[in-house]
Structure formats: C-alpha cells, structure tokens
Symmetry: C2
Subunit: 205 residues, 2 copies
C-alpha cells in the first residue's frame, strides 16, 4: 500500500485526484492540503511515501515546499505536478529535491504509474520535462576554443598556477600565459574566476 499525500490549492482537482488515488487498489490518499503551510506538521507525523506537489500555491510556493518537506522528511519522495514547464520551475524543483516532475495534463493512469515508479526508485518525468533535463547536460553551442586552449582551461579551473600547468603540458609558463590571454579574449572575461565560471556554466571543459 503506497501512502500518497497531495498538496494542491484547487479544491476540485485536489478532491478528484484524492478520490482517484484512494480508490485505486494498492494506493491510499487520506491526506491532502491546499497549501504547504498547513501540510508540513500533519505530514511530519503521518510520514507519507509520496507527496504530489503543485507549484502555484497560495503562500509558500511548491518549490519552497519541496525544500521544507525534504528537510523535515528527507526520505519522502516528492513528485511535482504542475502546469508550469519553464526552466526555473523545473530546475529549482529538482534542486530542492523533487524526485519527479509531471505536467498537470498527465492522465490519471500515468499518474498512478508514476507514483509506483518513484516508489520503486525511479524518477518519472513528462516527456518534455525529461528532454529539457537531459538537454541541460548537452551544450548545444560548441566551444570557441582550440583543443590546446580547452586543455589549458581545464587545468586553469583546477586552480593550478601558470607554471604548474606548463609543467603538466611540457611547455613554459609563458606559453600557458599566452594561451590564457587568448582564452580570456574568446570568452569575454578578464580574470581566472570568470573564466572558471563560464567554463563550468557553458560546459566548455
């Protein structure tokens, strides 16, 4: 029996979903709340297996909600259920510890399947969300740097000095310096810190 809790402000949606879930064999949904504030304390003592969380909520947003919930109940699996599909909503939710993200148009059958999946160690996502998440890892634009420059940037990010980079690559520190000047120009930065930041952000290394 999977104990599901539900946080959703629209009373119609909330009650309908609760009925569907609670009415399905193997599932139970006796705890549902219209906002995060009123859910935190009861859920702390109830200890649900899975929490379905809306994002647009009165008061605390669902994103803050995940954060709070995961702090009180680190072992609970939170599944976002939202109409929002923008980058901020998705990635912030995941950053706060959500273990899945479904758009609200998900049919009940798939919702139930997702709940089961998350319970079994998965991380269900709607198709477009999954694509968005994976594309985070794939930098579409290519690096403007030459292979040598990329190599030097990589070592630069390690915090090594020009000399030690030079030793690692069997070239002089002066040469390293020249390359780094070119790198800075190409990346439009003028310090190591900015270069590191850009390198990590744009996944140039």
């Amino acid at each position: 029996m999977i104990h599901v809790a539900l946080i959703e402000d629209d009373p119609d949606i909330r009650k309908t979903l609760a009925l569907i879930i609670d009415g399905t064999p193997g599932y139970s949904c006796t705890h549902h709340y219209p906002d995060v504030e009123s859910a935190l304390d009861p859920l702390h003592s109830f200890q649900p297996d899975v929490v379905l969380m809306d994002i647009n909520l009165p008061g605390m947003s669902g994103i803050e909600g995940v954060k709070e919930l995961k702090e009180k109940l680190p072992s609970v699996d939170v599944l976002m259920l939202s109409i929002q599909e923008d980058d901020h909503s998705v990635f912030e939710s995941l950053r706060m510890g959500a273990t899945g993200y479904l758009v609200k148009s998900t049919p009940p059958t798939q919702l139930l399947q997702a709940i089961q999946e998350v319970q079994q160690g998965g991380a269900p996502m709607s198709a477009h969300i999954a694509r968005k998440v994976l594309s985070y890892f794939h930098p579409s634009r290519r690096s403007p740097l030459t292979p040598r420059e990329s190599e030097i940037l990589r070592l630069l990010c390690e915090g090594q000095t020009y000399s030690s980079i030079g030793e690692a690559l069997f070239i002089s520190g002066h040469t390293v310096r020249s390359h780094i000047k070119n790198i800075y120009q190409k990346l439009y930065v003028n310090s190591r810190a900015e270069a590191v930041k850009k390198a990590l952000k744009d996944k140039l290394i």
Copy 2:
C-alpha cells in the same frame, strides 16, 4: 514509420533486436553495425530517426560514438542501450548529446515504447538512471557557509577584487579578505579558482 539504426557489438543481441524492431509495425531497422567506425558513413547517407547505441564497443566507445554521430547528424536522436550504469557512462553520454539512456535489461516492449517516446520529443530513461540524473541537481549536503560568507562567495565568483567586493558590501577589503580566508578553509580549497569551481559544482550560490 520510425527508422531505427543499431550499434551493438554482440551479434546475437544485435540481430535479435533488429528482428524485433523491424518486425514491429511502424518500426523499421535495416541498418545495424557492430561498431561506430563502420556505422558513421552509412548512417550519414541513411539518416535514421533514432539510433540505439551500446557503450562497450570495440574501437571507439559508444560515448565517443554519440559525439561523432551528433556532429554528423545533429537532428538524430541517440538512445544509449548499455549494461553500464556508472556515473561516468551516464553523464558523459548525456553530455555528448544522448537523448535517452536505457539499461540492457529493458524488455523489448519498453524499448519499442522508448523509441516512440524519443521520437515524440521525450527522453526515456530507465528508472535508476532517471533517479541518478535528477539527484545530480539536488546537493544533499547544505552549505557550510554563513550568510555573509555566501554573499561574498557569490561576488568572488564574479571575478571582482577584494576591494570592489568591499565597496559593494560597504565593508573594507581587509574584512572581505578575512571572510575569504574562512571560506577557503571551510571549502578545503586555497585559491579563488577552486572556490568558484566548488561553489558552482555544489550549487552553493
């Protein structure tokens, strides 16, 4: 009709999969290769919709394979199909542009479903893989820094000098320096570059 290509070195698996896929209505699988090298040129002219890619391959690995394939055919969707589940295999594949990642134990039905899903803009992943990917975004440990230190770290990442950080926060550069020394100790680093890297990696800012 979805045109599927297959790169897999085990002849049994390769031929079985090809037969299953090609024998399913709506799917076609006429191109299958035992390694990346022999696949690149033919696939360039064939232009498949989806490529199933193994990782353990003779010669070029499947990970390098994705990279090469996506460079030649940016619009093709590559679905990894591997027994490997380690972080490196998963994240490197995604970084190179894979649009999905299935473990080899995936039953044929689900494999076919995944192919269809990727074709419709999704990004299918096996349960454990999806969980691994999402957990990438959730830094389990919280920041060991004080609010003030976090603020300074943020500005440090911008590449500002101690003095300019001081000006921004209405404190002296000396104080900024003291905070930064504490930050370095807490993060176990000893240069700005490493601090920036750690800050971004652990999402401390």
